[in-house]
């Protein structure tokens, strides 16, 4: 089953994602990580690559930018599409993300329903339309 990896420390966001993901009953699996360490450990152990990574920038421990950088210099992991999911609209954040080869930058949806819309888009686009190498 295709997998979506969410790296997000805010439990409210995590909850909204889980609730909506379940409600939408998509043919995919959502795995949530609250910090970079557990996320990177998971990636190292898991042989099969996820379809997309939704990555927050403001994380405890290893920052989102550091995670992004590590992913994109890793010959194996760099093919995985990374969507930056941040509440920041600051131009420097956006620019830096693309410089580190993020595949997309999205300002976090606000509330439950908006999160549901967002999951739908992600599923449709990154899991169905997008072709992975």
């Amino acid at each position: 089953m295709k997998r979506i990896l969410l790296v997000e420390d805010n439990p409210d966001y995590q909850l909204f994602f889980k609730l909506k993901f379940d409600e939408l009953a998509l043919d995919a699996k959502l795995l949530t990580f609250s910090d970079g360490f557990s996320f990177l450990t998971h990636l190292a152990e898991e042989a099969c690559l996820p379809s997309v990574i939704l990555l927050d920038l403001d994380l405890p421990g290893i920052s989102g930018f550091d995670i992004l950088e590590r992913l994109k210099i890793d010959p194996k992991l760099k093919k995985i599409p990374v969507v930056i999911l941040s509440s920041s609209e600051c131009k420097p954040d956006i620019e830096k993300s693309y410089q580190l080869n993020a595949n997309s930058y999205v300002v976090k949806p606000i509330g439950l329903e908006a999160t549901g819309d967002f999951i739908n888009y992600v599923h449709k686009y990154w899991l169905n339309f997008n072709q992975v190498a």
């Binding site: 805010n10 966001y13 909850l15 920041s88 600051c90 976090k108 949806p109 509330g111 439950l112 999160t115």
Partner: protein, 742 residues
């Protein structure tokens, strides 16, 4: 006289050595007195004047001592003087000399002591002399103005001495002289204000006047007595301090040509320099005694200190006035931190810190002139010329036409200039002007022909004629005094330090601004992140209740939950607007010609989709392109057009008209609606941050939309304004300059 006379020979000067005429060793004395010079150690007689020598029947080839020629009392006086080293107190003492009452005057040069004998005072008793002197001094001291002082002094000297004419002759910078005060016998023609060339009193004569401050010539036609050199050793007797020394034949002829038979001159020393002289003329031979002359010398020194005092007081007062005005100017500049305004727009003018008639300032490409000044073009030509001369931030001349011939045509306005630089290259400067002083100068005889070569006598002759001769001094202004220069330099110093402070202040402001911007970055991040995250939670949980627990809550609770959700949306919009507003100032503007038409049609579509409940009719006029930052311009039109729809009247077709008008300099757009309108007294409030008009509180809005518009337009150096009529509608206008950077 003896054969092979050992008398000193005197060679009159020719043209080339005129200035060097050795008048202090002239070798003659005037015949009214007698002279002896002795060795100060052994009293051996070294020199004797012919008129004295002839009174003795002695062989002067022998060694002769003072005792052989004079009585004990003379020897005693010499001894007393030599012991005390001060002859001033004993000079003038009456002695019995060859059975005559004589006044003795002694001076000592190296080891030679010169004794001079003059007829003793017979005219006035000592106490009467003191009385006259006291009165004279009182009158001089009580004089008011400077000119009054001069006049009182010549009057008193004439009263005391009885000369036909007493004048004060003042030297100018080039040693030409001018008669500045005169008291004379009524029948004589006045010499007041007459000028005399410097060569009339040559340098070595001025030097003697400084050392020996009283000089009497008894009779220009007197039979001068040679000085007999007993040792025949070719060393002439130095007469620098002599009172009997006879004059140069040239000077005597000069006086004769003037018709003067006798003269007395008293030097006026001011601050260690020869300032001028009291010159007394008599038209018949005239003698006044040593005591009398001493009285005059005393008056002379008193006068010197009086001018020192009066001149100093006058200069001090002037300088104080200049400095006072200078500090007013500086204060005015500091008040507004504006040099041009401070120096030109207040009561204290640039011309108040000196005697200039006009001034101009050129600062940061701005120009301003005051008083009588040449045109701006003429002034910048002068400045160019001064820069060519590599003047070092200060340039002064009284003769502008000499260095800058075009100035001849406006010398009436600017003949003297004083220029100070306010920047290194003198591109910024202040310049003061003094007009040409086309002065008529009256000379005592033609100054060009002060002396004539006399072929017969192989020497120069003084001029024969002292007929008034008039010249016109051209292309010269009054001079710039030390005080005027000092005040200008003070102003330059003060302005420079203000300029430096101003630069520092701007630098500090910039640093503050940078900090403020950095703070703003943090602020907008805080807004976007820290506010939005909890907002998302609030909304999300309300939505959870509505979606997954709807069956457990009643309709009232559901309505409340819905209000929470609606209001979090409002808050989200508000946060977005605050973010947008704070971004405007910081974003690098990339100006481009924006196709306004495209933006507007895009917005028309969006607005129609978002307001499907309303019947909207957009009409467009000309939509010229403008030079702007695209996303900002988009926001301007978005806000104006959305407002036009938002504040419409209910149940009426919304008419929105958009059009642009282009002129040479700007493009003006207008957005007109047929909405609610507002009272024009609120016209300014609509653009203020977080200000919303009272009657639109029920309509959703953040109070930021028009503030954002205004900020964007201002940032583009444009203008925004509004016309409105309540119940009829509003028109918002904004104009943007066409050549933003040009």
């Amino acid at each position: 006289m003896l054969k092979n006379s050992p008398v000193q020979t005197y060679t009159p000067p020719n043209l080339s050595n005129c200035e060097k005429e050795p008048i202090h060793i002239i070798g003659h004395i005037q015949p009214h007195g007698e002279l002896l010079a002795i060795d100060a150690t052994n009293f051996e007689v070294l020199y004797i004047s012919e008129n004295l020598k002839s009174k003795y029947d002695i062989d002067f080839k022998q060694k002769i001592s003072l005792g052989d020629l004079a009585s004990e009392n003379v020897i005693d006086i010499v001894k007393v003087g030599l012991r005390s080293g001060d002859f001033a107190t004993i000079n003038g003492t009456k002695v019995d000399f060859l059975n005559r009452q004589m006044q003795i005057i002694i001076n000592k040069q190296a080891n030679v002591c010169t004794l001079e004998f003059e007829p003793a005072e017979t005219l006035l008793p000592e106490n009467e002399l003191h009385l006259i002197m006291g009165k004279a001094l009182a009158r001089i001291q009580s004089s008011g103005s400077f000119q009054d002082l001069l006049w009182q002094t010549v009057t008193e000297i004439r009263n005391i001495t009885g000369y036909d004419r007493v004048m004060i002759y003042q030297f100018k910078q080039n040693w030409d002289g001018k008669v500045v005060a005169e008291s004379k016998r009524a029948d004589l023609e006045s010499m007041m204000d007459l000028h005399f060339p410097a060569s009339d009193i040559p340098a070595q004569a001025r030097q003697l006047f400084k050392l020996n401050q009283v000089r009497i010539i008894l009779d220009v036609d007197a039979n001068n007595q040679p000085i007999y050199n007993i040792h025949e050793n070719n060393i002439p007797l130095d007469l620098t301090h002599s009172t009997l020394r006879s004059s140069s034949p040239i000077h005597l002829e000069y006086l004769r040509n003037m018709g003067v038979q006798a003269s007395l001159t008293i030097s006026i020393i001011y601050k260690g320099q020869l300032w001028g002289m009291f010159t007394c003329h008599h038209y018949t031979p005239k003698y006044i005694s040593y005591s009398f002359r001493n009285t005059c010398k005393f008056i002379g020194s008193l006068f010197s200190s009086a001018i020192e005092f009066k001149q100093d007081a006058r200069e001090k007062e002037l300088l104080e006035r200049y400095y006072r005005n200078e500090s007013d100017l500086v204060k005015n500049v500091m008040n507004g931190w504006d040099i041009l305004r401070g120096l030109t727009q207040f009561d204290t003018k640039l011309t108040d810190i000196n005697e200039a008639h006009g001034a101009a300032i050129c600062f940061e490409n701005q120009f301003y002139s005051v008083g009588i000044s040449p045109s701006q073009t003429e002034i910048s030509e002068i400045a160019d010329r001064v820069r060519d001369l590599q003047a070092d931030s200060l340039y002064i001349t009284q003769h502008l036409p000499k260095i800058h011939p075009p100035a001849k045509s406006y010398a009436k306005k600017a003949c003297g200039i004083l220029m100070i630089g306010l920047s290194q290259s003198m591109n910024d400067f202040i310049i003061w002007f003094k007009p040409e002083q086309s002065q008529t100068i009256h000379w005592g005889g033609n100054p060009e022909k002060a002396h004539e070569w006399d072929g017969d006598k192989q020497r120069i002759n003084p001029r024969k004629s002292f007929e008034k001769f008039t010249t016109l001094s051209q292309h010269t202004s009054l001079e710039w005094s030390d005080n005027e220069v000092a005040a200008a330099l003070k102003l330059r110093e003060d302005l420079n330090s203000i300029l430096i402070n101003k630069t520092n202040e701007i630098r500090a402001l910039n640093a503050e601004l940078k900090t403020a911007y950095e703070y703003l970055d943090t602020f907008s991040y805080t807004v976007s992140h820290d506010l939005k995250t909890p907002l998302s939670s609030i909304k999300g949980y309300a939505e959870i209740l509505m979606r997954y627990h709807r069956h457990k809550i009643d309709d009232d609770m559901a309505r409340s939950l819905n209000q929470i959700i609606v209001n979090t949306d409002k808050m989200k919009d508000l946060i977005q607007d605050v973010l947008n507003y704070s971004k405007i100032g910081r974003v690098e503007k990339e100006l481009a010609y924006v196709a306004t038409g495209n933006i507007i049609s895009e917005l028309v579509e969006n607005i129609k989709i978002g307001n499907q409940d309303k019947n909207i009719n957009f009409s467009m006029g000309a939509l010229p392109d403008v030079q702007a930052e695209r996303t900002m311009l988009y926001q301007v039109f978005n806000n104006l057009m959305s407002n036009a729809v938002k504040y419409s009247k209910p149940n009426v077709t919304v008419d929105v008209a958009i059009k642009g008008i282009e002129t040479d300099h700007e493009v003006t757009y207008s957005v007109t609606d047929n909405g609610k309108g507002f009272d024009m007294k609120n016209a300014d409030r609509v653009f203020e941050l977080f200000k919303r008009l009272d009657d639109v509180n029920h309509i959703e809005g953040t109070g930021l939309g028009l503030a954002i518009v205004k900020r964007i337009i201002t940032l583009h150096k444009g203008k925004i304004w509004v016309e409105s009529l309540p119940g009829v509608g509003s028109t918002f206008y904004f104009s943007l300059p066409k050549h933003y950077y040009n």
